[in-house]
Amino acid sequence: MTNSEKNRLKDKAFQVFGVFCTFIGLVILAVFLFDIAIEGFSRIDWDFLTSLPSRRASRAGILTAWAGTLWILVLTAIIAFPLGVGAGIYLEEYSRKNRWTNFLEINIANLAGVPSIIYGLLGLEVFVRQMRLGGSLLAGALTLSLLILPIIIVTTREAIKAVPRSVRDGSFALGASKWQTVWNQVLPASFGGILTGIILSLSRAVGEAAPLIVIGALAYVPFTPATPLDEFTVLPIQIFNWTSRPQEAFLTNAAGAIIVLLAITFLLNGIAVYLRNRQQKKIKW
C-alpha cells in the first residue's frame, strides 16, 4: 500500500468514526422519544391537560403542573432578564479590567457549574426561610433565577463582545456617551444573541425538579396558583412523582406529561434558533 493510499484510508476511517459519533446521541434520543411517544401519546387529551391531580391514575391530569411551569417560566424570565443582562453589560462595557473583575468573572463561570440542588438549598435558606416566602412560586422563581443568571451573564457578554469595536468607536466619535452607545448600538446589534441565551437558559430552568423539591414545591397541589405567593408544582416534579408510583397507569401518565414538557422545551429552543438565524441574516459586519 502506498503512502497516499494509507492516508486516504485513514481519512475514510475517521469519516466513518465521525458519522458514528454524530449519530449515537441522536439515535439514543430518538429511541427514547419513540418509546415515550408510544406510551404517552394516547394518554394526552383535553381532560388530561385540564384535570387536577388525583389518586386515581385515569382521572389525574396535569393542569396544576403545566400552569405552575408557565408561572415559573414567566416569573423567572422577569427576574433573571434585567439582572443577567445588566450584569453582562456592566462587565463587558463598563468595568475596568483588573484583578477584582477577573475574580468576578472566574466566579461567575464557576457558578454556572454549581449543581442545581445546591441552588435549591440556598433558595431554601434565603428565600423560603429568611424572606419567609415559603414554598411559593416566587421563592421557586428566585431560586431558578439564581441558577440561570450565570448562563445569561455569560451569553450576554458573548453577544455584546461580538459587536465590533468599530461600531462603538463610531458612536463615541460622534459624541455619544457610553450609555447612549450601549443603548443605541450595542444592544440592538446583540439583542438576538442575548435573547437566544435567555430562552435557552429558561428552557433549562423549566426542566429542573431538584432545586424546587428542595425549596418545598409540592407534588400534590389541588388548585392552580393565582398569585406568585401561592404554592405550586411543576411538570418535572409531577413526572418524578408519577414515575415513583408502583401502578402501571401512573407511568403512562408520566409519559404523557413528559411529552408536554418536551413540547414546551422544544418550542423554546425552536424560538431561540429562529431568533438566532434571523439575527445572522440581518446583520453582516
Binding site: K97, V167, D169, G170, A173, G175
Partner: protein, 254 residues
C-alpha cells in the same frame, strides 16, 4: 495672504500605554482650514497622536497623557472639558468604513439624535446637507431608508464622513480613511478632502506617501513615538531635513 490662526496644538505631549512610552515630547501647531498629514512607519504613534485630539484613547485601560493638547487655545484634557462636547467639535473618520447597522438616514442623523434633536424636518435638512457635502447625495437620495451596510466600501466611507459632518465640527480627524478602498473610491475621498478644507481643519493619517503629497498642505513625520519633522508638504518631499525622513519617504524603510 493673511496669516492663518493655529487651530490645534500639542505642547510637550507625552503619552503612555501602561509602561510603553508611545509619544515622546511632541510639539506641533496646526493651522486652521489646512490639511495636515501624519506619516510614518506602523507603530510610530501617529494614530495614537491623532486619537488624542478627540480623546478616543480615554477608553483604553492604562492610557495616560502628560502635557497639553490645545483646541483653539483651550486644553482639551482639562478637568472641566466634557468629552461629548469636544467630539462635537472634533469629528473622526476611521480606517475601515464603520457605518452603523441602520438605514443610511439613521446613520447620518445619529450624532444629532443623541444630542436630543427630534424634529424631523431639521434632521432631514441636516442629512441632505451633509450627504451633499460628502458627495454622496446623488447616489443615495432615493434609498435613504435602506441599510447602510448595502453600500459599497467607498460609499460607506463617504457616509461616515457625512455622519461626522452632520454635527458641524470644525476639525476632521481621518485615520487612513482610504486604506481599505479601491483606487477609484480613494480618488473620490481625496477630492472630497480637497473640497472640505475650505471649511474644516483636517488631520489625516496615511501610509500612502503619494496621498500625503496630493492632499496635504503640511506633513508631519513620526518615528518611534517622536515627531521627527514637520514642515510644508512640498518642502518635506523635496528637501527633508532629517536623515530618517529622507530614508522613509524614499522608501528605504517602513
Amino acid at each position: 495672504m493673511n496669516k492663518k490662526t493655529t487651530k490645534l496644538e500639542a505642547k510637550e505631549l507625552n503619552a503612555y500605554y501602561g509602561d510603553f512610552h508611545a509619544l515622546k515630547s511632541i510639539n506641533i501647531a496646526m493651522e486652521e482650514k489646512n490639511v495636515t498629514a501624519f506619516i510614518g512607519p506602523s507603530g510610530c504613534g501617529k494614530s495614537t497622536f491623532l486619537r488624542t485630539f478627540n480623546r478616543m484613547n480615554d477608553y483604553i485601560d492604562g492610557f495616560r497623557t502628560e502635557g497639553d493638547i490645545l483646541l483653539d487655545g483651550r486644553d482639551i484634557y482639562a478637568k472641566d472639558v466634557r468629552v461629548d462636547e469636544l467630539r462635537k467639535e472634533v469629528g473622526m473618520v476611521f480606517q475601515k468604513p464603520n457605518p452603523f447597522p441602520k438605514s443610511i438616514f439613521e446613520n447620518v442623523v445619529y450624532g444629532l439624535k443623541i444630542q436630543g434633536i427630534k424634529n424631523k424636518s431639521v434632521l432631514e435638512e441636516a442629512a441632505e446637507k451633509s450627504l451633499r457635502r460628502s458627495a454622496l447625495w446623488e447616489e443615495v437620495k432615493d434609498k435613504l431608508n435602506q441599510s447602510a451596510l448595502a453600500l459599497s466600501g467607498g460609499q460607506q466611507q463617504r457616509l461616515c464622513i457625512a455622519r461626522a459632518l452632520a454635527i458641524s465640527p470644525s476639525v476632521l480627524l481621518m485615520d487612513e480613511p482610504a486604506s481599505a478602498l479601491d483606487p477609484l473610491s480613494t480618488a473620490k475621498i481625496e477630492e472630497l478632502i480637497y473640497e472640505l478644507k475650505s471649511e474644516y481643519t483636517i488631520v489625516i493619517v496615511t501610509h500612502n506617501m503619494q496621498q500625503a503629497g496630493r492632499v496635504s498642505d503640511h506633513t508631519a513625520f513620526f518615528y518611534m513615538g517622536e515627531l521627527v519633522e514637520f514642515s510644508k508638504t512640498k518642502t518635506m518631499f523635496t528637501s527633508p531635513q532629517d536623515n530618517r525622513t529622507q530614508n522613509y519617504i524614499t522608501g528605504r524603510f517602513g
